[in-house]
Symmetry: C2
Subunit: 278 residues, 2 copies
């Protein structure tokens, strides 16, 4: 029952205290393996973060079903807590949560894609000059280092690391603006972008590593606010242009999906839960 949550390889899977009352503080040898960090961070935060991580790393594709009982069991908490995490994800447009229906990882529509990129251009273009005004050489150096690490990752073929660093570039830049509001928006939009890319990424793009981050950093270092902001906008436009926004394989006949493989029974789903049928 837990095996379909492989995308969350978070170790601290507490064995779900006995059906009786958890006896929170009494805690024998069973529940005491809790890092101090985990004790402080509320459980719903952990679930939220785990799902975000999984989405950013593309381990959790759009359409995946997220049952609250399952999630709760995995993290050793009740449905209530899992539900809270899902609720927050739903507010941020990362999971789709319709009443009485199983929560699923969102599948952003084409329209939504347009909106998300438009918003990213607005927010991130604004962030660039803010960072430039408030920041010293040291941060420029940090950015340069990040870009180098990213390029190195792509160069050695480590796409996973490359993606992570690429995401890191945007979020770190956002953090540098010292504006929690804007930083939150960027994080949210980056997550949604991750879903979008998972759905619509053009296969051609693999061969198309982008040096645009380096370009942005260079323009930031050069001190030309206008040029730097424009570089950011163009980078995001390129990213969007590289998508193949065809009307996502809406429901390509179940046969086409499961054709060769044989249909799995409900009680033994594939490693990744099957994408939501519709």
């Amino acid at each position: 029952m837990l095996e379909c949550l492989h995308f969350l390889h978070r170790l601290p899977v507490m064995p779900r205290k006995t059906p009786a009352r958890p006896a929170r503080k009494v805690a024998g040898a069973a529940a005491r393996k809790m890092t101090s960090a985990e004790r402080k961070v509320p459980a719903d935060e952990r679930i939220y973060a785990a799902i975000c991580d999984a989405i950013l790393d593309r381990r959790l594709p759009p359409g995946t079903r997220l049952q609250e009982i399952q999630l709760g069991e995995f993290f050793g908490v009740s449905r209530t807590v899992a539900h809270r995490a899902l609720l927050r994800l739903a507010h941020e447009g990362i999971v789709s949560l319709r009443p009485k229906r199983v929560a699923v990882v969102a599948r952003p529509s084409i329209e939504e894609t347009r909106s998300v990129f438009e918003a990213r251009r607005a927010v991130e273009a604004a962030i660039v000059p803010i960072v430039m005004r408030s920041v010293g050489k040291d941060l420029a150096a940090e950015l340069r280092a990040m870009v180098q690490a990213e390029d190195a990752a792509y160069a050695r073929g480590d796409r996973a690391a490359g993606t992570r660093l690429s995401v890191g570039f945007h979020t770190r830049l956002a953090d540098m603006a010292s504006n929690p509001v804007l930083a939150k928006y960027v994080r949210e939009l980056v997550l949604r972008t991750s879903l979008i890319v998972a759905l619509y990424e053009s296969p051609a793009r693999a061969a198309h590593p982008h040096f645009e981050h380096a370009d942005i950093v260079a323009k930031i270092a050069a001190g030309d606010e206008r040029a730097a902001a424009r570089a950011m906008v163009e980078h995001l436009e390129a990213l969007e242009a590289n998508l193949e926004l065809r009307a996502s394989e809406a429901s390509p006949t179940l046969a086409a999906i499961f054709g060769a493989g044989g249909v799995h029974s409900r009680t033994a789903p594939p490693v990744f839960a099957a994408p939501e049928r519709r």
Copy 2:
């Protein structure tokens, strides 16, 4: 116990079904007074909307305590539902929700104020050209009408209506961009601005009605994207500049607050719950 929720003058106060099971559909003459609209809109949405409305109308000042049981009773639902509404408000920075503590309407700090206005400039300046590109004469006319209504309200001294229309100008403009993401951000930021204004509004500002909305519309109609966006930025800057960002009366000695009036007992709080003490 309910009397301190006067700011929510929402009529449908269901008398909280009997302590026994609600028997949802059976519903005698008691619970059947439910508009079809109310039946569809989930209860937590209604609570959320009611609180937002109250904040926008300045009926609900920063620091007001929002107990979930109280809220739940008022709307005829359980703590669970009220809690969900509070959770959402907390995500949007409108209420402050620290663990094990009563939720209170947020009191944005000075730093936060800066962030909110910076974000508004970024988002709303971006919205202006988007609207200009996608919109026909009819919408320009609608904007003009809104501004006229607003000015009229201020002219006749109806500040409540003026504020409402002023808020409406920003949110309607945001809606015109046909971008749900950006529209959501604007709604959120406008709400937070409302709290900020409630905290820091300079008394001088009452005498300072702003014709800047009219200016923005004029520049939009004129078709100069750059000028229009700049007008929006300047409008927001003026708004921020008009605040008196002194370190909010942190804790002006209890005596100063309750000095003349005599202290109310806990069971009979003043009409508006006293601002959170700290």
